[in-house]
């Protein structure tokens, strides 16, 4: 008796929880396919009379340039920071020099530095070097801010890797550089992928740096979406369609590569 009551309470809590978790997605999809007039009728749970996919066409027209911008900036910054993260992570996990320990501390704290703490100098640097007007400015900023995270994630993976293979290669006369590129890196492919996913999502979704450093020619998607929300106040259908479009790329990455995401560096990070 008592047990069944607990069970029902548990189920109720779970139901409310699921509603809270999933309702937004449902309503957003419904709303994005309606006309503005249908939205004023406030039948949010029902689909519209006809599914207006042209909302997506219009939202895409508004946002496609910034999706291209975001792809260039995020793609380049992710590739560069993951590459250097691999090198740095290998250093932190395999080279026990005197400087390794202090550098490790700086890198780990660096991973958590709030962007506000570097924002003013960053804007100043970008303005004086005139990089602020180009993709390079944003790419460089994101690389700087993400190398510590990439190094820690990659480093934790290398840290958990058995050393025997590398040691026997060293006995055979291979240098650390050769070992890293020929032996360790191929094994680390899943870690590279998962680190890249985490950093890609982070940069794609970043707003503060994007807002302060982008120009009308380099506007990333987050900034564009904030603009759309501000200038199409009543057009919720357009807002929601644009919101969904802008999440499509990171969501696809997540879904396609989720196995890596979970089994790769993250699992490693937890053991370390």
């Amino acid at each position: 008796m008592n047990k069944s009551i607990t069970k029902y309470v548990l189920l109720l809590v779970l139901a409310i929880f699921l509603l809270w978790y999933l309702l937004p997605l449902y309503v957003v999809v419904m709303t994005s396919l309606k006309s503005p007039i249908e939205i004023t009728q406030r039948t949010y749970l029902l689909p519209g009379l006809e599914l207006r996919f042209e909302n997506y066409v219009e939202a895409f027209k508004l946002s496609h340039m910034s999706i291209i911008n975001s792809s260039i900036i995020t793609g380049a910054a992710t590739a560069i920071s993951t590459f250097f993260g691999g090198l740095g992570g290998y250093f932190l996990s395999r080279f026990k020099w005197k400087i390794s320990k202090p550098l490790f501390v700086l890198v780990v704290i660096g991973m958590f530095i709030p962007y506000q703490a570097v924002l003013i100098p960053l804007v100043q640097l970008m303005a004086t070097t005139r990089l602020a007007l180009t993709y390079a400015g944003l790419i460089l900023s994101y690389v700087l801010l993400n190398v510590p995270m990439a190094s820690t994630l990659m480093g934790t993976f290398f840290f958990g890797l058995p050393k025997e293979l590398e040691e026997s290669a060293e006995v055979d006369g291979a240098s650390k550089v050769q070992i890293f590129f020929r032996i360790v890196s191929p094994v680390a492919a899943p870690a590279y992928v998962s680190t890249a996913i985490i950093i890609f999502t982070q940069i794609w979704n970043e707003f503060l740096i994007a807002l302060t450093l982008s120009t009308p020619y380099t506007t990333p998607i987050t900034v564009k979406l904030a603009e759309i929300k501000g200038s199409y106040v009543a057009l919720y259908n357009l807002q929601m369609a644009a919101a969904l479009i802008s999440s499509l790329i990171p969501l696809t990455f997540f879904l396609v590569l989720q196995k890596y995401f979970i089994k790769g560096a993250l699992a490693g990070a937890l053991k370390g």
């Binding site: 309702l23 997605l25 090198l87 490790f104 570097v118 960053l122 890293f180 919101a243």
Partner: protein, 306 residues
Amino acid sequence: MVSLGRGVTKAGRKFRTRISEILIFFLPLLFFTAILYFMVTWTIYVSFSNWEGVEPKYDFAGLRWYELMFSLSRTHIDVRNNLIWLIVGVLPTLFIALFLAYFLEIWGARKGESIIRTLILYPASMSFIVTGTIWSWMYQPDKGVINTLLRMLNLSFLESRFITDPATANYWLILIFIWQYLGFAIIILQASFRTTELQEMVEAATIDGAGKLNTLFRIILPNIRGGILILLSLLLISALKVFDIVYIVTFGGPGYSTDVLAFFMYIATFQQHLVALGACLAVIIFVIAFILVIPYTLYALKRWFT
């Protein structure tokens, strides 16, 4: 002679590989880290300067802007709001995620796992700007989704002014944060449940007849300290530097009721052009962040270097 010659080339080769090791593995990381901390130092320097307006001005002003900052009631509101964010935003996320992750594990939904995982993770792949846009629509007081649905279900007494109510606006914003981070937290915890050692321990405890909750608190929790610590640090820092949600949903309003340090920092620096004041706020944010990540840093240090 011969052996000596060989010895020299060997030493030479060793020296050359050392150089290439330094160039390839060490210098890039040192370079990026150095620039990062150089910029932090620069911010601290600006916070002691008299920089007002667009042009940089580095004349020393001592603690002038810090005094101003601490005298502003806006700063006090912000610190209070940030504290609410740190506590209400992080602890429930951690606990709910812990129970849900454990529930999913013992429920053993291995079959539908990829679907469940997709549903769990979808908010995590969105930006705060996206979730903020979505939830603004949910929360909108007169036409918004939640209030409309409540009226439809004859539950009007549950209606709320949500983000337009100064007393509770913070909590509605924090709920967006929890919505966004919960799935991410669950995935991290699930990953840390699934180490082989831990699985074996849980199995042994189950055979010994330990209850589910007992297993969770006595066996699992003490053994996933690493996972919890990194998750806690990530959540705390994200809650501390929250800016996007505030910017997109309330812009700090109504009044200053949802203002936070990070938002004030942005406004002070880029809209009021009180750059020195912005730098002071940035330093405060940095110091809090630094304190918050000390436990994880010590833990990681111990793990890696002993």
